[in-house]
């Protein structure tokens, strides 16, 4: 892409430099108005040469000069034709260079849009959840098994970062997430990814407030928890600080704006225990999808 950018720069430079010259030449020799202008110019020259020493117009001189001019034009008609053909060819080449430059520009735009679409469609695996009914003593409960995932910049993929098991009463569970969506411009450029982190587990018979907390405000949530080897450039302490800064930014309007946070909210997925595994993904456009 960088070499194409350089090539396009060179072509554009050529077009910019040769452009005005070609515009003038094309106007003069390849348009009716250009030829009319040339004709007027020649007429003025002949008229000027037709003035006698006293500065008065001499029809005889005018006639002579006109005939002479016509003959000169006639003798050099081959050169004129060849020059015109060359001008047409060069003009064609000039247009061709312009088209090549336009093509490179379009190609680069297409590549950029492809990357934009890819970034918008990119998903991050956050969590896998499996739930089933179990008997705890004589009470029917829901057993929830959670596998968390965190994005490793080193491996460029989502890797398991921890697991938990919970028991909760009810007929269906709600897997709650906190979602941080960043401005589209940042997502499109691939400068950041939307974030979602498991937040709360509750059920139809246990309110959100009384539900099981899946993150602690002080610590790094599982969904960001990485081994030292999977952290890029930062030390584990710096990484932890960065994550806590992002989490903290959502409560601070100016910091959120600085980081490009578009929306911050919560969503919870209702799941009827069936023993099936549900996988949750944060999306590039915002929000969570489940598969």
């Amino acid at each position: 892409m960088e070499s194409l950018k350089i090539l396009q720069g060179l072509l554009d430079g050529f077009l910019k430099l040769a452009g005005p010259l070609f515009q003038v030449a094309r106007f003069l020799f390849l348009t009716v108005w250009g030829w009319i202008l040339i004709g007027i110019s020649i007429f003025i020259i002949i008229w000027n040469n037709s003035l006698n020493r006293d500065g008065q117009f001499s029809p005889l001189r005018f006639f002579g000069n006109t005939i002479q001019g016509l003959f000169q034009f006639y003798f050099s008609i081959a050169s004129v034709i060849i020059s015109l053909i060359l001008l047409i060819v060069l003009s064609f080449v000039y247009n061709l260079v312009g088209e090549v430059s336009k093509g490179i520009s379009l190609y680069r735009e297409v590549k950029m849009l492809e990357a934009t679409l890819k970034n918008l469609k990119a998903e991050r695996k956050i969590m896998e959840l499996r739930s089933e009914y179990v008997l705890s003593g004589e009470v029917k409960m829901i057993k929830v098994m959670i596998q968390y995932y965190a994005y490793s910049p080193i491996q460029d993929k989502d890797i398991p970062s921890g697991c938990e098991e919970h028991l909760i009463s009810g007929r269906k569970i709600y897997a709650g997430f906190g979602v941080i969506n960043f401005d589209y411009s940042l997502i499109e450029k691939g400068e950041t990814k939307n974030v979602a982190f498991p937040d709360r587990l509750y059920s139809d018979s246990i309110s959100y407030e009384r539900g099981i907390r899946l993150i602690s405000g002080e610590d790094v949530p599982y969904t960001f928890r990485l081994d030292e080897n999977d952290i890029l450039l930062l030390s584990p302490d710096d990484y932890k600080t960065q994550i806590q800064r992002i989490m903290g930014a959502v409560t601070n309007k100016s910091e959120a704006k600085r980081l490009g946070v578009r929306t911050f909210y919560g969503e919870a997925f209702a799941i009827v225990p069936s023993g099936k595994v549900y996988t949750f993904y944060s999306t590039g456009t915002g929000g969570i999808v489940v598969r």
Binding site: L106, L113, K121, Y174, S207, Y208, T283, G287
Partner: protein, 235 residues
């Protein structure tokens, strides 16, 4: 030849000058015409090739722009205006919007708790790379009220089995009404229906609420949005 370079004895070619003949002879001898025509042919081929290439890039660009615009498209299906928050009670107005952004139903709520929760059934129909999501808000509860005790709100905007949030003044033909009715019915097939994650059909039961760190603010209006892939957002 006279003084003007015209061959007086060549009456059949009176307008051909020495110069032209000279150029013709030179070009024929050196094969320049062939070379020149070859160059012209090459340039013309290059022009056609570049034109076709540019056209294909242009079509690809238009398609990508459409795809990006589609992926970023969204539909606000509900709004919540928080009117007051005091003494562990939240009061808010719920507005259900149709596809034209007009309010088709609204109701005031006064509930115990700090945060509103809006239960939504989302149905996604997929075909190839494209998908269409339908969102049906069905319940209202709070952080302190368990979902089993939620207030059902479908009666607010469903008339004769048709959910008015998919009312479309320009496209309300019988097929459209039937399809939306069926989609709505499918979403509420049974009370405890399992989540469906098929290749062409996804049904999810999602509750939306304001941030876990930053609670909703009195006087502010929040928009509930659905994206074509079925993901939800609160703005």
């Amino acid at each position: 030849m006279n003084g003007y370079g015209i061959r007086g004895n060549e009456r059949s070619r009176p307008f051909i000058t020495n110069e032209i003949i000279g150029v013709e002879v030179y070009m024929k001898k050196s094969g320049s015409i062939e070379k020149f025509l070859l160059v012209l042919f090459f340039l013309a081929s290059a022009a056609v090739f570049i034109y076709l290439l540019n056209q294909s890039f242009l079509i690809r660009k238009i398609n990508l722009e459409k795809a990006i615009s589609y992926v970023k498209s969204k539909y606000t299906f509900a709004k919540i205006r928080v009117t007051s928050k005091k003494e562990n009670t939240i009061s808010f107005v719920l507005y259900i919007l149709n596809q034209e952004g007009k309010t088709v139903a609204e109701q005031d709520f006064n509930m115990q708790g700090e945060e509103f929760f809006i239960g939504v059934k989302v149905l996604v129909l997929k075909k190839g790379d494209s998908s269409k999501a339908f969102a049906f808000p069905y319940s209202i509860y709070t952080d302190e009220i368990k979902p089993a005790d939620a207030i059902n709100i479908t009666n607010l905007y469903v008339k004769s089995g048709f959910p008015l949030n998919y009312y479309n003044s320009s496209g309300m033909d019988r097929d459209y009404i039937f399809t939306i009715k069926e989609i709505f019915k499918k979403s509420f097939g049974e009370e405890n229906f399992p989540m469906i994650r098929g290749a062409g059909l996804v049904i999810m039961d999602v509750s939306l609420h304001q941030s876990i760190f930053k609670t909703s603010t009195e006087g502010r209006t929040y928009e509930a949005i659905v994206h074509p892939n079925g993901s939800l957002e609160v703005e």
